[in-house]
Every structure is written in C-alpha cells, then in structure tokens.
C-alpha cells in the first residue's frame, strides 16, 4: 500500500492516499486525502467542545468525516490523572470514509496524562502537539513519568511540537482583564485555532458559535475568540509549524444534496419528530435521565413547538409507564434509556405486548452488566431486547448502522409500532449516539407515510345482530388489533395485562384461548413486513461477514481492505433483528463460512445458530470501544483462509 497521510501512519480502510507539495507563500502547503486527529486533555479541559467545533468546521468545509468522542463517566475526574483523560477523535477526508480511524496522525495532548493515555495508539511518525506548560515535575510524576518524555528521547520517533499553550493563551488575553483562572480556560480555543490553521479550516462558524454560546458573558466570548485567533496566528507565524495541510472537500463521494453534520442521538431525536409529523400524531416522550441516552430527552425538550411533550419521570418505570398511557390516548409514544433502564422497564414492555399498543423503546446501549461502563459502547442488550421479559413476549427489534442512519431507523421503528400495534425496540449504542458524520438532509416528500386510522365504530356483529366493538378483533393481514382511543363514543372498552379472550378482549383463563393468543402475538411479530437482506458480494465469495448495528462502519472498512488486497468476502448487515429478513436463512446457507463480529460475546451469532442451524463464527470485542478496522480485517482474513 502506498498510503501516506500527514504522517506515514498505517491506515485502515484501504483507500488510496496521496500527497503533493505546493508552495504557498512562506510556508509549505501539503495536500492530503485524509487525516485523523485526536484531541486529548483533562475532563475539564473542554476537549469534547474543541472536537465538536473542529468537526463543525470540517463539516461545513465539505469533507466526509466520522468522530469518536471518548470520555470518563465522572464529570470532573481527579485532575491530571489517567482515568480523567477525555478525548475526541476525528477522521476527515476528501472521499467517503466509514470509521473514526484506528490510529491518529495527530495528537493534541493538553497535559502529561493525555500524552501517556494516548501515545500507545499513535503510529511512529505521528505529529504530537503538547502543552509544555503542563509538563511540570509534579504533573509528570502523577502519571508515572520519572523523566520528561519531552526531553528523554522517548518521543524521538514522533514529530513533537512543544507549545506553551497556557502561557501563550494568558499572553494573548492579558489585556482582557479576566482573572488568570478564567483566561486559562480559553487554552482549548488556542489549540483549536492552531489546528484550524494547520488544516485550513474555515473559522467563521466557530467565532459565531462562541459569540452565541457566551452571549450573556461578552467578555468570556471575546476572550475565547481572542485565544482562537491567537492560536491561528501562532501557527501562521511560528517556525515550528513549517507546513500546513489541505484536505479537499469530498464532493465526489456524496450524491447531490444538502448536507449537515449530525450525531446519532440528534438524528434519532429528529427521526422521532419526523415520525410524529408523518403519522400526524403528537409525540410523547416519557424518560428518565441516563447516559448515553439523555441527549435525546434534552433535544426533544427543545421542540415543544412541534407539539412534543417530554416528561422527565421519577424513574425508568414511570418513564415508560407514562409513555404507555400516552399511547393508549393516541400519541406516538416513546421512552428512551440505556441497558439498566431497559431492565427496569421490562414489566411494562410486557404489558405493552399484551395491550398491543404502539410504543418505541429506544435503548442506547452501553457497557454492562449493571452500571458497567456508562460512557462506553457495547452491543450486549440484543438478547435482553429479544427475550428479557416474562412469558412469551415477542418485540420487534430495529438497529441503526451509522449515526445518520438513526434518523431512518427511528422512522422504521415507528412504522412497525404503528402498523402492528406493538412495542418496538430501537437498539442504538454509545458509539452511534455520540459519533457524528455528514448527513444528506432528506426532502420532506421522501419521508414515509405513517398515517394511522383510529377505530371509529363497531367492528363486529354478534349472533343476535348487535353491532359491537371488539378491541381484539384483528386485521386479518397484519394481525394488528384496532386502536380505539378514549374520547371515541361507543367504543368504550377495557384492556389489561391479564390474558384476554380472542376478539372481545374480556378476561379469559381458558387454556385453549391462552395457547391461541400466545401463538397469535408471536405470529403477528413474525409476520411483520421487513425488506429482504441485501448482500454485497461482487466476487462470488465463500465467506460472509454478517453484522448488525454500529459495527457497520468498521466491518465495511475491513471488507474494503480485504478486497483491495484481492481477498473475496461477502458482506451483509442486519437492520431488522426481530423478525429477521425472510431471506436470511437462504443467504446464510449460501456461504461456507459465516463470521459475525459483535461488541458482545456472540448474541446475534447465538440467535442465528439457533434459528438457522448455521455454524456461524463469532468474532467478539467487549472493551467499550468500536472495532478497529485493521484488527477486524485480520480476523476476517483468517476466516477466509481457514
């Protein structure tokens, strides 16, 4: 491979990377086709904000991009320690990319802890920008540096740019009149300014953002903007930074359209609002704050002018309870949570199965079991979503594959819930939730029609000729029961969690009726109309890699690598996990080897082995981080060669 980016780092997705030098004034400008930058600092250093801003600049410039925020669960972990390091990785390119990248070309380390925690991920030759002001004896000793890594030669294999970020920031702000502590806080903007210069990022957006964010504190806004500009100017004037880089917009990689950058949780929230509009039903969210799902609650709370009701409940159970109550009343009802919350909601999900009311259960998966790793990603709730209830309680499961896909997945989950009158799981995860990528903004006419018809009158004639309403008389095609909402005259009825008689919905303990109802509820879910699974197999491969959810990016990047090197591998990715696409069994039987990479111990593999008697191989990683494409490619290659 002839890849070369800003440093000759080993890259992962198999795309061709070239370099060319042009002279631009006093300083060299090099053209790159992609770059991976990681900002790292203390939890309180504002690294997530810095990364977000750099991402926004990059998005508005038109690069393709993918991001990976990574932060501790503690709001302010002890300063200067390894567990307290917060980082934000951004991969951007002039062509389409699939992952935040395996190894950064550039690390911005705001302190010794940030350097120590991240240096292991850097390939030789990578650039490191360090804030030298923080490399005091004490700070270095805290993370176990006996000697200064800036002086002891341990960084000789890297291009180190020592920058006294704190001093320079204070110097730039000495006229501001701000107390030292406040002025120092702007050092992340100095770093952002420097990186913005290095990569020719547009800056207006950030200045506008800072003015809006600190509208009520104009002196703070001014200080941040001054630090941001000082960082830019520092790059422009200092000899240490001899080269800057250009990454051209990825115009040819994208279909025509208007684009924006979007994170998974934001896309999911927008998908819910869009579903509400397309169904012409008011949106009701019952939720309890939990990482990493809370941002959906925050986002929806901002959009009350769309008729969105958000209810922050006393606990997870009340969150879903209120949503179910709203569903009974005719709202598009949603509850958002993460794995521990799903455990608490299980009984109510079972009730929703029995009541046969539409309800979206959004699970932003995180590391488990128990409290687990609140800020890290995992896919280990699949079996909980499938089976985590008492009795036979089938629930459809839909999983988005990328941050932007959360929008479409939310609409699809809503479609299933509304058409089939059932709770539906939407299984996202921390990686999708916080990661971001460009999204082609859809035209409203492209959105699916989700309108529903409430029951309006009697639907059954009794033996004596009376016209009555039977709440459990089903649509023969979908097996869905009628949705008769309170306020509809003549359709007064009672529903509950006790087994009901087929048709009338009256309490029934009859053994044959129970057997029939259990099978009917299962048949309803089994019969949900889902599209067939697409298989990408250009070379007639004998090995299939099957994934679901957020592993789409790394798997696709790994598949590209393999094919680039002449390997033959087929790829398929599941969006519907219950029911599975009709053709899944046939697809699986078409290959000698099926590999299932998952961020769990093999939950999808268990399901398909059980259902299709296919000897699927698991490839698992449960370390709270997404797969690295390179490792995944190696594992897939092994499977092909076996």
């Amino acid at each position: 491979m002839t890849s070369q980016v800003s440093s000759p780092a080993e890259q992962t997705d198999g795309t061709v990377v070239g370099e060319q030098r042009t002279a631009a004034g006093a300083k060299d400008v090099r053209r790159l086709d992609r770059v991976i930058i990681r900002f790292a600092g203390d939890s309180g250093d504002g690294m997530q904000l810095t990364g977000d801003r750099f991402t926004s600049e990059t998005a508005s410039f038109g690069n393709d991009l993918s991001t990976l925020p990574n932060f501790p669960a503690e709001i302010r972990a002890p300063a200067g320690t390894l567990p307290g390091v917060s980082s934000f990785q951004l991969h951007f390119a002039d062509h389409d990319i699939l992952t935040p990248g395996d190894a950064p070309n550039v690390l911005v380390a705001m302190n010794p802890a940030a350097l120590k925690a991240n240096i292991g991920d850097l390939p030789r030759g990578a650039e490191i920008i360090v804030n030298t002001d923080e490399f005091t004896k004490r700070a270095m000793a805290k993370v176990g540096y006996d000697t200064s890594p800036l002086e002891d030669g341990s960084l000789d294999g890297y291009q180190v740019h020592p920058v006294p970020l704190t001093t320079l920031t204070l110097e730039a702000l000495k006229e501001s009149g701000l107390p030292r502590r406040d002025a120092e806080r702007s050092k992340n903007m100095f770093a952002l300014g420097l990186l913005s210069w290095m990569y020719h990022r547009p800056t207006e957006g950030t200045e506008k953002f800072l003015r809006a964010k600190f509208a009520k504190k104009p002196d703070i806004a001014a200080a941040n903007i001054a630090a941001f500009r000082a960082g830019w100017n520092f790059g422009e004037t200092t000899e240490d930074f001899a080269v800057s880089y250009e990454v051209a917009p990825a115009a040819t990689a994208f279909p025509p359209g208007t684009y924006r950058n979007i994170s998974g949780n934001l896309a999911l929230a927008y998908g819910l609002i869009a579903a509400s509009r397309q169904a012409d039903l008011p949106l009701f969210l019952g939720s309890y704050p939990i990482t990493p799902a809370s941002d959906i609650l925050h986002e929806l709370s901002k959009h009350k002018n769309f008729g969105v009701r958000t209810f922050q409940a006393e606990d997870e159970i009340a969150g879903i309870g209120a949503a179910l109550g709203a569903a009974f009343g005719g709202s598009l009802a949603v509850t958002t949570t993460s794995g521990p919350g799903v455990a608490l909601k299980s009984e109510t999900i079972g009730l929703a199965v029995s009541l046969e009311l539409p309800l979206l259960v959004v699970d932003i998966q995180r590391g488990g079991p128990s409290t687990g790793l609140p800020t890290k990603t995992e896919q280990a709730d699949l079996l909980q979503a499938m089976y985590g209830r008492n009795g036979e309680a089938p629930v459809p499961v839909v999983a988005p594959r990328t941050p932007a896909d959360c929008f479409d997945a939310a609409l699809e989950a809503a479609r299933i819930a509304l058409v089939y009158r059932t709770p539906v799981f939407l299984l996202s995860d921390g990686y999708l939730a916080n990661g971001s990528e460009p999204w082609r903004i859809p035209e409203l006419e492209e959105l699916p029609d989700l309108t529903v018809q409430f029951a309006q009158g009697p639907n059954h004639t009794t033996a004596d000729g009376a016209e009555v309403f039977w709440p459990y008389k089903r649509d023969p095609h979908t097996l869905a029961r009628p949705w008769a909402i309170p306020g509809t005259p003549g359709l007064e009825h009672r529903i509950g969690g006790i087994e009901k008689q087929d048709g009338t919905g009256n309490i029934s303990y009859d053994p044959a009726n129970h057997d029939f109802m259990v099978r009917t509820r299962q048949a309803k879910v089994d019969g949900i109309d889902v599209p067939d699974l697409d298989v990408d197999d250009p070379d007639g491969a004998r090995t299939l890699v099957l994934g679901w959810g957020s592993t789409y990016g790394p798997i696709t990047a790994a598949v590209r690598r393999i094919r680039k090197e002449g390997g033959r591998i087929a790829q398929a990715h599941l969006r519907h996990l219950n029911p599975f696409p009709r053709n899944l069994g046939e697809v699986l039987r078409g290959y000698d080897t099926v590999v299932v990479p998952e961020m769990n111990l093999g939950q999808l593999a268990t399901l398909i082995r059980a259902k299709y008697l296919v000897d699927a191989r698991s490839y698992n990683q449960v370390n709270g981080m997404p797969f690295k494409a390179e490792q995944l490619a190696a594992a897939l290659k092994e499977a092909i060669d076996d």
């Binding site: 994208f254 009701f284 006393e314 209120a322 109510t348 306020g487 309490i507």
Partner: protein, 352 residues
C-alpha cells in the same frame, strides 16, 4: 374563571341524561361476596351520572390487586395495568389528553408498597388525576399477607409472630408529598363517600381519596370501630370545612391546639374551651394543620380517626403547565417547521 372551571370544561359533557346503568359494564363482578369493593363500585357508578361527563371521555386506570379489577366493571375506557404503576400510566394519559377525566383505582399494597414512588410523584406534580385508594390494611389477592398499612404486630401468613414494620398513614403521606387534595372516607357510608367523590371530582389537580374498605376474608372488621354506631361516636371525627372539629355524643369532644407544642389534641368540650375548638379550614395554604389532624388517629385502635376532606387547595396543575409551555413555544418560535429543523444551521451543498 378558576383553573377548576377551565379544567372541567375541557372534558366534553354527555349529551343525554345518564343513569347508573350507563356506567355498568357487561362483565360479571368477581369480588368475594361481602367485599367492601362492591359498595365503592356502586357508589362510583351511582355518582358518575351526576358529573354528566361524556362516558367516552372517562378513563379508569388501575394497578394490580383486588381493587384494581375495578375498571373492568365500569362502562368507560379503562386499563388494568401492572402492580403499582397506575399513577405513572395515568400521568402520561392525563397530560397528553386534557379532554379526559382520568381516575386511578388502587389499593394499599399497590399504591403504598410497590407503587409508593409513583404515588408521591403524581401528588407532588399535581397531575389532573383522581386517585381512589382502597385501604383494607391487608393483601387480599395474594391471600392475606400484611400490608404497609397493617398495624404493628399483625399476625398473617407471612408474619406468624407478628409484623414488625410501622404502618403508613396514607393521609399523612399524601400531605407530606405536597398533595393539593386529600380526603378519607369509608366504604359503608355511601352518602359520605359520594360527597367526598364529588369534591374530588371538582378539584383541579391530583385528588387522593383514601377509602377504608373491608376485606371480609382476610381482615374482616378492620374498620368496625368506625362503622358500629355506638363506638363510632368516639372513634370518628367528621371534618367539615368551616365547622369546629367536634365529635362524640352531642359533640362532647373537640380538637384544640396545644399552646405548649402547637400540636393538636382531643379535649372534652367545656364552656371555657368551646371558643378554642379548632375550626377546620381545608383551603388553607399551609398543610401543617391538615397534617396534624391526620396524626390524631391511633394506628392500632383507629380511635380519633378523622374522615372527610383534610385538604383542598388550588395549586398549578401539571397538565395545564405542560400545555402552556407548548403554547408558549409556538408563540415564541412559531409552529414547528420540520424542514427547517432538519436543515439546522451549518449545511453544505453537493452539486451533481
């Protein structure tokens, strides 16, 4: 117009005259013969026509337990949900559908044990719900274990040597949870029960009505002291707004404030102290005196048990506040424009 008037007007009225029969469903009532629940059901069915609300706009939501079968017997919309969760479910329904009259039927185990959290939060939010808490001081449906309102030392199947935990006083609990309306009544006193229901129905916000209800199978006679004419004279304190709190034969006893502690106490009424007898004010903003009244009852003997409306105050209703915020958001930002929302601020265009 008061909040109460506004809220009541949101629920459509029935077109014709209603009768008790209109509110009876076709389902066979399956409580044990002699259960106090029958009396409450009859009282509620008998009272509903008086409200004159469109039947289709009335919803009964219940949890689990004997009393929670109640919705099946009402010819309205209804949901028999899961243990303890009725207030949460009803909150979602009431806040999203202000045109409904939403009633919760629950029991002492359902509301105060497994569902204690939802009950107190519904009360503090002041959601427009009417909660009927059937208190029989025992678990009936699971066949006779002690409940969170059972007296200490209760001998049951699960406590053969007597229960150890102190009981909740539901009225005290509700007042402590910021309830805006709290009342207590007794299953066998149809007139009193109906009067309390009437006031609860008129109340904007959450109304909690504790109904002492006899379980003739597992805790028979638990409230006999309040029902036996003779003994009730000394046991029951009937609270009426604006009236002195007196009870006993010919009102021989009364409640006064103890100047030393500020607490309430029962005294024999004399010409000397008659002027000091507490006059019940259910509408006073402070819950202090209502709470003190709730503490007069002896949890073991039920002596000095006040019944009636302890507290009925106007407080902003959660559903109204939520609806107002939606209106305000439209006023401030205009009606939501999905295309504009999806486009956001920073976009770029790729031309084909």
């Amino acid at each position: 117009m008061t909040d109460a008037d506004t809220l009541l007007q949101l629920v459509p009225k029935a077109e014709g005259k209603q009768t008790m029969k209109d509110f009876k469903s076709d389902q066979e009532v399956r409580w044990c013969p002699g259960c106090g629940d029958y009396a409450v059901l009859a009282a509620v069915q008998g009272f509903m026509p008086e409200l004159g609300l469109a039947r289709e706009n009335i919803v009964f939501v219940s949890g689990i337990g004997c009393s929670s079968r109640f919705p099946y017997y009402m010819n309205t919309y209804g949901m028999h949900s899961i243990h303890g969760r009725a207030p949460a479910i009803a909150t979602g329904l009431a806040t999203s559908r202000r045109d409904l009259s939403v009633w919760v039927v629950t029991g002492d185990g359902d509301a105060l044990s497994i569902g204690g959290n939802h009950l107190i939060h519904a009360l503090r939010r002041n959601v427009n719900l009417k909660i009927l808490l059937f208190n029989n001081r025992i678990y009936g449906l699971t066949k006779g274990q002690y409940s969170p309102t059972s007296e200490v030392g209760k001998i049951t199947k699960s406590t053969p040597m007597g229960s150890l935990d102190a009981p909740f006083n539901p009225v005290s609990l509700a007042i402590g949870a910021e309830a805006s309306f709290v009342a207590r009544t007794v299953d066998s006193d149809r007139k009193h029960l109906t009067e309390v229901l009437r006031q609860a129905a008129d109340h904007p916000g959450t109304a909690l009505v504790e109904i002492y209800q006899n379980c003739n199978i597992f805790n028979d006679g638990a409230f006999e002291v309040l029902k036996d004419k003779q003994r009730a004279q000394e046991a029951v304190i009937r609270l009426e707004h604006g009236q002195p709190v007196r009870f006993g034969t010919d009102g021989s006893k009364g409640v006064v404030r103890d100047p030393a502690t500020g607490d309430l106490k029962v005294v024999a009424v004399t010409p000397d102290n008659e002027a000091d007898i507490l006059v019940h004010d259910a509408h006073t903003a402070s819950p202090t005196t209502a709470f003190a009244l709730s503490r007069l009852a002896d949890p073991d003997t039920l002596h000095h048990t006040p019944i009636g409306v302890f507290r009925s105050v106007d407080r902003p209703v959660y559903d109204t506040l939520m609806a107002d915020q939606l209106d305000t958001a439209v006023d401030q930002h205009g009606k939501g424009d999905l295309a504009a929302l999806l486009a956001g601020g920073d976009t770029w265009t790729v031309v084909g």
